[in-house]
Symmetry: C2
Subunit: 331 residues, 2 copies
């Protein structure tokens, strides 16, 4: 199966991709030479810096969320590997305007370790650095039934809310507290209808029969908790919504924001068909959706499928933050 | 191979998709009940109306280009079939604020016939309606070497330029003339690395070996003019740029805008890697690129591949039109 790749090396491919992004959005973003850092080009407000990142293979995450009202910088690793500590440290320094920097990290052990190390180094050099860890995935281990709590597409809601809040002038301590409150109200569940392929590899990331789907997949090729024959878009919507609603104490207490995320090779038609089915189901359940965004935000190379994120808006201000404008190109 | 579809009927699936779009962008767009028309929700300027459309399977075309500074309305057909004449007529009526309506049509016989019929009916009812036909595809018939001149991704540049021009107050006659001048400077060529599948069908739209690519494909599953083994992203860029540059008399005379378009299931990483390679090659050739947009704009269900559009900016005003802001969500 052909994918469009560069045959020199994985490092060169990622480097070229980042240069392609920087050239396309040259008034918005810059790539810091000899690093995998993408930095906002101009700082129009004096605010706390926001830095996020992770392995490659999840595009447009995270460079697509760098911009006024979202991230100050994104830091990238090679495929499915966290960024280098030295790159994270440099991104912190470049993003710190004297008010400190907040790191937004997805809950994978290797990512948390690298970002923690960078936080420690930058702190020793006099920067005020906090970290919040996103763990929105509510999939289960199929054997042990323990919650996986990985950080997945809900991370993008955290970027948006904290980005708007940082722009409005919140302090580092206030943003850290807000981040923790927001993260506890965000849950995501994904379904793959076709497995992805890693570059140069002939075998799919996980086995999936051609008539089969897998619920609860991860964004690094981790298989899901259940395999079933494909039935219909409504059936997928039903499984996702039913599992997600039980994560919340009372789904009718406060309104929701939802994010419908294509996992890489999912077409706009598939995304909007799922949007229709999910919104219809949420409406039947009396769940009040006040914000909806649809697109490919947090992908897993060329896997095809959808993740649904529910975010209960316990504070009216959170909806305002979601609705603020941003220059980030992938929001 | 599983795709996310609705199993009731093709009509229901498209209807549900349009409702999903309207619900997501409910401050921007509305679906006209019992039609496949997507109409801008508010008219903040008094201007000539712009209507475009075509078959489904090309999402986000064309509903993603409805908004302030682009289209007034889009009209949709079922999969790869042009819209109904009655829907086009109604879209014209809804878009006409008294200054007339311009139809932007892709050059396929069935589309041109339906839009022409609608133009005739609306004109008889007293509307001033003009039409421009986009024929940017410079692929050749593999047997006869005749130019195909289909309307493909370059259509989106026409939407953007005419949309900004209409907003700035140009008359219907001026817009029609501008459209014809712009269209004559736009050329597109596409390459598929994986064939697409139609809903419910097990066979791909055209045969493509798993190590093979096809240059010059169409957006309705038309195979290309040449099949070759996949080599690298640079090689694809080379073939596209070399074929496209010969469409223009003098590529150094005026600067260019380029559109790098994912054909459906092409990931952002693939799109930005191609962007890097294409920009590098254009730079080596001394071609001055002053505008670049990258994304999935005009797709062919779940085909994977890239089309490149070159647009020579013979008039400085055209670049200004491209850079004007728009509320259309897919630009």
């Amino acid at each position: 199966m052909v994918h469009i790749i560069n045959n020199e090396s994985e490092e060169m491919m990622i480097s070229n991709m980042l240069d392609g992004v920087a050239a396309t959005y040259n008034t918005l973003l810059q790539r810091i030479p000899k690093t995998y850092i993408m930095l906002k080009k101009t700082f129009s407000t004096h605010q706390v810096g926001l830095v996020s990142g992770g392995g490659s293979g999840h595009e447009p995450a995270h460079f697509g969320f760098v911009g006024e009202g979202m991230l100050t910088a994104s830091v990238h690793g090679v495929l499915f590997e966290p960024p280098q500590v030295s790159d994270i440290v440099q991104a912190i320094k470049l993003s710190d305007q004297g008010l400190g920097v907040l790191l937004i990290v997805k809950n994978f052990a290797a990512d948390v370790a690298r970002f923690s190390k960078a936080q420690q180094i930058a702190s020793q050099e006099g920067h005020h650095v906090s970290m919040v860890i996103v763990h929105d995935d509510c999939s289960l281990e199929s054997n042990t039934f323990t919650k996986r709590r990985r950080g997945v597409a809900g991370t993008v809601f955290v970027h948006k809310v904290l980005g708007a809040a940082a722009k409005s002038g919140l302090s580092l301590a206030e943003l850290t507290d807000l981040g923790e409150r927001v993260i506890s109200e965000i849950y995501t569940l994904g379904v793959a209808v076709r497995s992805g392929y890693l570059w140069h590899e002939e075998e799919p990331m996980f086995p999936l029969r051609k008539d089969e789907v897998s619920f609860g997949i991860g964004i690094h090729g981790e298989p899901g908790y259940r395999y079933e024959p494909y039935i219909s878009s409504e059936y997928l919507a039903n499984e996702l919504v039913n599992k997600l609603e039980y994560q919340f104490d009372d789904v009718t207490e406060s309104p929701f924001a939802i994010l419908i995320n294509g996992l890489g090779s999912t077409t706009p038609m598939e995304q909007f068909l799922m949007t229709h089915d999910i919104l219809k189901l949420l409406s039947l359940k009396g769940i009040d959706v006040q914000y909806c965004n649809v697109g490919s935000f947090m992908t897993s190379t060329n896997m095809s499928g959808i993740s649904l994120t529910l975010f209960q808006l316990k504070d009216k201000q959170w909806l305002k933050y979601l609705n603020e404008s941003t220059t980030a190109f992938a929001w």
